[in-house]
């Protein structure tokens, strides 16, 4: 894959330097059989260094979680080699099995098969709480 020329896919830009692999894992990009490129420590005008992830031949990935992981990320959607959309992913209302509740008094601490569900309770401050015990969760 020529990393500069993506035909139909996403360029996930302005990732905090060093965080690209974490995002790669959260998005489960390892499970894709299309091309994925990680660029580490690219030069950035704003922050000095940044990471970039490029995904080609795939427009179906759910990127909602990026808003939770790092709201400063920019996503470029590319169709037929052109940027058709540029956006900051929004905070998702609900996170399922993304972060685990760490409250030792929570039912999830003894029933391992329960899905870990966190809900956005304060968009302004990006506060997520466990659906079951309502404890605030941190990444």
């Amino acid at each position: 894959m020529n990393i500069d020329s993506i035909k139909n896919g996403y360029v996930i830009d302005h990732i905090e330097a060093g965080k690209s692999f974490e995002i790669y894992n959260y998005l489960k990009l390892g499970e894709l059989d299309t091309s994925v490129a990680i660029i580490k420590n690219a030069k950035s005008n704003k922050t000095g260094k940044k990471d970039i992830i490029k995904i080609d031949e795939n427009l179906d990935i759910n990127l909602d979680i990026l808003g939770y992981l790092d709201p400063k990320i920019t996503v470029n959607k590319i169709k037929d080699g052109k940027i058709v959309e540029k956006f900051h992913p929004e905070l998702p209302e609900k996170l399922v099995n993304v972060v685990k509740c760490k409250n030792p008094r929570c039912i999830t601490s003894i029933e391992q098969e329960l899905p870990h569900i966190c809900e956005l309770t304060d968009r302004e401050h990006a506060v997520y709480r466990c659906k079951y015990c309502e404890e605030q969760v941190n990444r």
Binding site: R105, C106, I107, T108, S109, I110, E111, Y132, E134, E135
Partner: protein
């Protein structure tokens, strides 16, 4: 409404309706004596809480229904490792409604997400205890004849006390409520209760560690006990458990029509010399608890009709 997991599940109108039904039950016991004939309540208590369980069971019996259940985790299927979700699906085949107490927070919600029959949260760890809050509201309504225009002192463990947080949340819906929050520094109300409930609803409140400082202003004094099971450190518990003891002397400046409440059981926080004072409402409060549970069972069982 199908379940009651959190007091926030109920609208103000629904709370008013429950209070009105409970009052009607108190005035017309016979009218309700057979309302739940042929129905069964299962009390699934994964941790013991005798008075809450008996209150639910008495409520169902007074409606003409029957009760079954267990009163601790080691006498139940949980001891064999069955999940809460599986248990309620099985019990739902035997009973028409379930009251669940569980030491882990969120367990009744997990149950409600899978259950075919209504689930009532009878307390989940330090998290929610909505029927206690309904009991408190009925008590206030019956004793003060209003739920607005009240100055409410809450004393004791304001940090871990779930009844306190729910009561503050519930009372914040009504007009002109003021709170006096009385606690030792270590057991002060958590910041999120101040920001998310009190400040958001523009409720006036003061914090103090002196039980007598605002005594003359109070319409209600809600005493709580410091619960051993909420502490990870024995020394902290021993140091704080007898921090406040309400006695006759401390009530000297209190209003004539003060209403003293306590979710019970008490340990030492109210001296027995207060029991004969006409302002002591805590034993009546326990009785109100049965009536509001009767109203709640009726409401939940009639949901689908």
């Amino acid at each position: 409404m199908k379940h009651l997991i959190d007091i926030k599940d109920l609208s103000t109108e629904e709370i008013d309706e429950l209070i009105n039904v409970a009052k009607d039950i108190m005035d017309n016991r016979q009218k309700y004596a057979k309302k739940c004939e042929g129905k069964k309540l299962a009390t699934l208590f994964y941790e013991p809480s005798t008075r809450t369980r008996l209150s639910f069971e008495a409520a169902m019996m007074e409606l003409g229904g029957n009760v079954l259940g267990f009163s601790s985790a080691n006498s139940s299927s949980a001891a064999k490792g069955e999940s809460v979700a599986d248990t309620v699906r099985v019990i739902g085949g035997y009973a028409d409604i379930i009251a669940m107490r569980h030491p882990k927070e969120g367990a009744p919600l997990v149950a409600a997400m899978k259950s075919e029959v209504p689930i009532i949260n009878a307390g989940d760890g330090g998290h929610n205890h909505p029927t206690q809050t309904l009991t408190d509201l009925l008590t206030i309504q019956c004793e003060k004849h209003r739920l607005s225009n009240l100055t409410i002192g809450i004393c004791g463990d304001l940090k871990f006390g779930r009844t306190v947080h729910s009561l503050i949340t519930a009372m914040s819906r009504y007009a002109n409520i003021k709170f006096v929050l009385i606690s030792p520094e270590e057991l002060q109300i958590p910041d999120y209760v101040k920001t998310d409930i009190l400040e958001k609803n523009h409720i006036e409140y003061v914090e103090t560690n002196d039980i007598e400082e605002y005594m003359q202003d109070l319409d209600i004094l809600y005493m709580t006990r410091v619960q051993k099971e909420r502490f990870f450190n024995e020394d902290d518990y021993i140091r704080l458990k007898d921090y406040y003891i309400l006695n006759k002397e401390k009530l000297e400046n209190a209003k004539e029509d003060l209403c003293i409440m306590h979710p019970l059981p008490r340990v030492n926080e109210i001296s027995v010399d207060v029991d004969d004072d006409k302002r002591a409402c805590y034993f009546k409060q326990a009785k109100y608890g049965k009536f509001i549970r009767m109203a709640l069972i009726l409401k939940l069982l009639n949901f689908e009709k």
